[in-house]
């Protein structure tokens, strides 16, 4: 037995081994072949056993020869195994095929009513100016709905608001302003509050609902001016519509404010150039406001008289219709939609 014979045998086993590795049909089969050739009792290991019969000077040479082949075969094994694993994996993946065009398991998405959404939106804007929300009862005493707001009994300004009565002394509040009076009576100035909620007018047609929503603000400070009021409303308009829209005041009359103004904002749809939404005027009426009438501040004991003393509290107030704001913001075509609660309508306000 000499080294060249053994070398030949190694070569034969090596070649054979490469051939069968390559031909292996699966990674299991390949593993079995690996055991057959490279295992402890494998063909290559058996050759290793013959080393003792070689002369001493040939032993290292033979050892390194067989190790080189062994290493090469192991590399070959890894290579083929990777390939076969990939095939197996692909087979498994194929078996796990799903029609991914099938619909997702239906999980309902809810929605807030546009009135709720717009209310929260408006409150968030005024919160940044330090205003906080107050609410109140919907069945209100005549005094809080009218008289405390400088609307005496048998006064023509009562005709401005068609009123639902519950009894001689109780009405369904015609505006959110009674909230102001309750706050003025129970909390101390200075104040910045937002009154929010449902109001009622006995008036129903294509553009009027008998039960709608209002939001209003009241600020009480030692110094309050029309400029402050316009600054506040103008800030709100820009934030609410997210556009640089101009704000315009027009003289008007409300019994509880003097001076009073109607608030117009530039039409958000045409940016003031005139369109069907704003009736070609470029402006849209959004609410009313004014400096709180000194008579109102006296009636609710904020000031002791109406003499406009230097130390007196002063106040401004403003109010908007929430449906109107929603109509402008979302392009809702009719007030009818607000109370129909058609799910096709509601589900649009995610």
């Amino acid at each position: 037995m000499n080294i060249s014979d053994l070398s030949k045998q190694i070569e034969v086993i090596y070649e054979e081994s490469l051939k069968v590795f390559k031909a292996a049909s699966s990674s299991k089969n390949l593993y079995d072949l690996k055991v057959e050739f490279l295992g402890k009792k494998g063909k290559l290991s058996l050759l290793m056993g013959l080393m003792s019969k070689l002369p001493n000077q040939d032993k290292p040479k033979f050892g390194s020869l067989i190790n080189v082949k062994k290493k090469l075969l192991e590399e070959a094994y890894t290579e083929y195994k990777t390939k076969l694993d990939l095939i197996d994996l692909n087979k498994k993946l194929d078996q796990e095929y799903l029609d991914m065009s099938l619909p997702g398991k239906e999980i309902e998405t809810g929605a807030l009513h546009p009135i709720q959404k717009v209310s929260e939106n408006i409150v968030n804007i005024f919160s940044r100016l330090g205003f906080s929300v107050r609410t109140g009862n919907l069945i209100e005493k005549d005094y809080y709905n009218f008289e405390a707001l400088n609307i005496p009994k048998d006064h023509p300004s009562r005709d401005m608001q068609d009123t639902f009565y519950i009894d001689d002394n109780h009405v369904l509040r015609t505006h959110t302003s009674p909230i102001q009076i309750h706050t003025l009576e129970t909390e101390k100035a200075p104040l910045r509050i937002i009154g929010l909620g449902s109001v009622f007018r006995s008036d129903s047609d294509i553009s009027h609902s008998p039960n709608f929503y209002q939001i209003e603000g009241l600020l009480v400070e030692k110094k309050v001016s029309m400029a402050n009021l316009k600054g506040t409303v103008s800030f709100f308009v820009k934030e609410f519509f997210g556009k640089e829209l101009k704000t315009r005041f027009r003289p008007s009359f409300f019994p509880f404010t003097e001076p009073s103004a109607e608030v117009d904002c530039q039409c958000s749809s045409c940016m003031g150039s005139g369109c069907s939404l704003c009736g070609q005027t470029g402006w849209i009426e959004i609410g009313g406001c004014g400096l709180v009438n000194p008579k109102v501040l006296k009636l609710s004991n904020v000031n002791k008289d109406t003499e406009n003393n230097e130390t007196d509290w002063q106040a401004y107030a403003f109010g908007f219709g929430i449906e109107r704001m929603a109509i402008l913001k979302y392009g809702i075509k009719s007030i009818r939609f607000f109370n129909q609660n058609d799910i096709r309508f509601l589900s649009q306000f995610k």
Binding site: R192, N211, N228
Partner: protein, 819 residues
């Protein structure tokens, strides 16, 4: 209020605005007289022309129609006409394609029974005129003569001299001085800085009035009364100019005398009345009506007095409801010879009350109840007398009756530059202030360079505080001068109130739970509400109290509802949500989930309670098996509610309603639950009663729930750290039992938990199986246990399981399957 441009031009020079009425409208709006619309008469009659009928032939296919060749200018058009009163050579009025007649009647070219018609020949009614002849309007010879330049094709508005612009102005209740043409002109003279063209002299006060006695009951303190006699009036049609003035503000012409009284009201704002002197019969009494007296009013309605209403009476009976409407009998008619003309001032609140009681609203009552100008009586009287003298060839008697109204002069108002500047937020030039205030007719005294003493004229009763003058200055100076400055704040940070915080939190949680928010009216139809809440086949007479177990009160009615559909405040949100369901169902929305957060109302004696409810309604099943879950719809709703309550950290308990008397009628008696929080009933959940579904023809499952959110007490979140520190793993065991269908799964669950004791992490129904032929049900519970001292071994579990099964079978009679 309607204001005519042409009429207005009689008092103030408006030539600058002649071809630009919009500009004048803008000026008015800018000072607070909001112009809501402008009707341009020229535009309104576009494509309506005077025409001559050249030939008239029978329509070949219709007996009642005729074919007319009509000359409408250079061209001749064929128009099919259905009237019979016209002939060849007649002058008529033709509406050509593009014309828009009153009532939004658009004229188009069309074919009538196969013949082309290029427009329409108009009747008087179609032109908005009073009807004097049948068929179409044939222009009469005398009309034609006046029109020297009559031509075919001449525009109808030119022919009729309709070149006015009518402003529709929204006069706010404080500006009673602007309820007339002269009033608006006066305001414009200030705004445009122009002098008025006309003034109105007052009738001279005479020493005596001898025609007949006029007595004023002493109690009528706030009253002014003037009048005089005009003899030999010739009652006839009014002249064209007067008719046109009245027509422009929408007032119908009656006769020359009545028209003058109306004209003066629209001119000066002072309501006038003319009585037939014969019917005044010896005397006039201005007094309170007595109970039982009655009056037939001008519009032929009989009113019965309750007593106390202010009336004008003759010797024996009422002849007018003072300041509101005259009597039919004492009115001016074609046989009237002598008249008494009244110009008065009545207390606004008296007129308001009386007009409201009888439900009568007239132009007169409207002006008196808002507060008329008490200083103008004699000017108006003089104006009316002069016009009647002129138009009815009458003799005006010299003596007049005059009871002076209480002339309350406006009080002095002191105002300073600092006040103006502080409140407006910009610097004020006092010269401008003086200019505007004087232009308004105020008396002005300069007390110092920065302070003024002002007295407003009587017709501006609304100017009584410094802020009123401030507004006058600001609006005349222009609201656009007000700068925009955010206010500084001296207060501390505020806090939203609890209701708002809870409401928004609930709304957003419900939204995140996949529900759509509904908002319904707070009032509803009382019958629908009753029949929903109280639905019960056998106990029809029960009152609503049963549903009030947790509300405890009667429904609140609206005294003056708009309709029966909205006549009672809602007791519950569910009837409204059910109506929404019906709407959606009828619009083919067969699957949906709605919630509503809102106020419900009830009363106890005379206290009105408002409570805040949360209600939910779900209908329909998932349409596809792919999406469907195994448990019935009502458990989906229950799950949503549970997750909502857990999100709010509320500890709650469901109670199966076993006593039928405690189950609301609208719920399915075998599928209903009550919710308890801290032992208090807070609401209900269940399926809708099948009879309600049947009644409204709804073929779906409907589940609903309603809770009083005022009783939700939100607990703060507290972190339980022990849950993370258990050293030993938890183990899971499924326990299957067989039990009668009537046994509550929750009772079994509770017992399992009790036996497992403090080791129990959770126990929940895992599966339910219902064998077809058996009365029993197989329920599997999934129990999770964990011990703090050691790992649960299989033996421990066996022991626990045996203990649980023993307890279940001993206490609940549950069978343990042998498997």
């Amino acid at each position: 209020m309607k204001i005519s441009f042409n009429w207005l031009s009689e008092y103030i020079d408006l030539d600058n605005f002649k071809s630009n009425s919009n500009e004048l409208g803008k000026k008015l709006t800018d000072v607070g007289l909001e112009v809501e619309g402008i009707e341009d008469q020229k535009k309104a009659w576009e494509n309506v022309v005077v025409a001559k009928i050249i030939t008239k032939k029978a329509h070949p296919n219709a007996d009642r129609l005729s074919l007319c060749q009509v000359k409408v200018g250079a061209e001749t058009l064929q128009i099919v006409c259905g009237a019979k009163n016209h002939k060849e050579g007649d002058w008529v009025v033709a509406a050509l394609p593009g014309a828009n007649l009153p009532g939004d009647f658009l004229i188009k070219k069309s074919k009538l029974r196969g013949e082309l018609s290029c427009g329409m020949l108009c009747s008087e009614e179609e032109l908005g005129l009073n009807k004097t002849m049948d068929g179409i309007l044939i222009l009469q010879k005398e009309d034609l003569k006046k029109e020297e330049s009559l031509q075919e094709g001449k525009n109808w508005s030119d022919y009729k001299n309709l070149s006015d612009s009518i402003f529709d102005i929204n006069i706010t209740p404080n500006r009673t001085d602007c309820l007339s043409h002269f009033g608006i002109a006066r305001e414009l003279s200030c705004v445009l800085d122009k002098t008025l063209k006309k003034d109105f002299p007052a009738k001279t006060i005479s020493d005596k009035f001898s025609a007949f006695p006029i007595k004023i009951e002493k109690s009528n303190l706030n009253l002014g009364y003037s009048g005089c006699v005009v003899k030999n009036v010739k009652i006839k049609e009014s002249p064209k100019w007067l008719k046109q003035r009245l027509a422009s503000v929408g007032v119908k012409s009656i006769n020359n005398v009545v028209d003058v009284t109306n004209f003066v009201m629209w001119e000066l704002g002072q309501p006038m009345h003319a009585f037939d002197l014969q019917k005044v019969n010896k005397e006039i009494n201005i007094r309170k009506a007595k109970k039982g007296e009655s009056l037939v009013t001008l519009d032929n309605k009989n009113i019965e007095f309750k007593g106390g209403e202010l009336i004008i009476a003759n010797e024996s009976s009422p002849i007018a409801l003072a300041g509101i409407i005259g009597g039919l009998d004492s009115g001016v008619n074609k046989d009237t010879q002598d008249i008494f003309i009244e110009s008065a001032y009545f207390s606004p609140s008296d007129i308001r009350k009386t007009a409201k009681v009888f439900g009568i609203q007239t132009d007169s009552s409207d002006r008196f109840s808002k507060g008329s100008d008490s200083s103008i009586l004699l000017q108006a009287l003089n104006r009316a007398c002069e016009l009647i003298k002129d138009l009815a060839q009458a003799e005006v008697e010299k003596d007049i009756f005059y009871h002076k109204p209480p002339q309350i002069n406006n009080e002095k108002i002191n105002i300073t530059q600092k006040f103006l500047e502080d409140k407006l937020g910009y610097s004020v030039n006092m010269k401008d202030f003086d200019k505007w205030i004087k232009a308004l007719g105020c008396q002005l005294k300069v007390s110092s360079s920065e302070s003024r003493e002002v007295v407003a004229p009587i017709f501006r009763k609304d100017l009584c505080q410094p802020v009123d003058l401030l507004e006058e200055y600001a609006r005349l100076n222009g609201y656009d001068k007000i700068p925009e400055v955010l206010p500084s704040f001296t207060g501390g940070p505020g806090k939203h109130n609890d209701y708002y915080l809870q409401n928004t939190r609930l709304a957003n949680l419900c939204k995140n739970a996949g529900l759509l928010q509904a908002i319904n009216y707070h009032f509803t139809n009382s019958i629908f509400q009753k029949e929903f809440l109280e639905f019960d086949l056998l106990h029809k007479t029960k009152d609503l109290k049963k549903y009030s177990t947790y509300m405890g009160g009667d429904p609140v009615s609206v005294l003056n509802p708009l309709s029966g559909d909205l006549n009672v405040m809602r007791l519950s949100l569910l009837p409204g949500l059910f109506q929404n369901l019906i709407h959606n169902y009828n619009h083919n929305q067969k699957l949906g989930n709605l919630f509503e957060l809102g106020t419900v109302f009830n009363k106890q004696e005379n206290n009105y309670n408002e409570q805040n409810f949360l209600s939910l309604i779900s209908w329909g099943n998932k349409e596809t098996l792919w999406d469907k879950s195994k448990s019935p719809l009502v458990f989906e709703l229950k799950g949503r509610v549970e997750s909502l309550l857990k999100s709010l950290n509320i500890s709650f308990k469901w109670k199966v309603i076993k006593d039928l008397n405690l189950c609301p009628d609208f719920l399915h008696p075998k599928r209903s639950l009550a919710l308890q929080i801290r032992g208090k009933l807070v609401g209900y959940l269940g399926d809708l009663h099948p009879m309600l579904l049947q009644k409204h023809k709804i073929r779906l499952n409907v589940s609903l729930a309603e809770f009083n959110t005022d009783l939700f007490n939100l607990a703060p979140t507290i972190c339980d750290s022990n849950i993370l520190t258990g050293k030993y793993p938890s183990v899971t065991r499924d326990l299957s039992v067989l039990c009668l269908k009537t046994l509550l799964s929750e009772d079994i669950n509770q017992l399992i938990k009790k036996v497992a004791g403090k080791d129990c992490i959770s126990c929940r129904v895992f599966d339910i199986y219902e064998p077809k032929d058996k009365e029993k049900l197989s329920i599997t519970f999934r129990l999770v246990v964990q011990n703090s001292e050691k790992t649960y071994s299989e033996e421990d579990l066996q022991l626990l399981q045996a203990n649980i099964f023993k307890n279940l079978s001993d206490k609940l009679g549950v069978e343990i399957p042998s498997s």
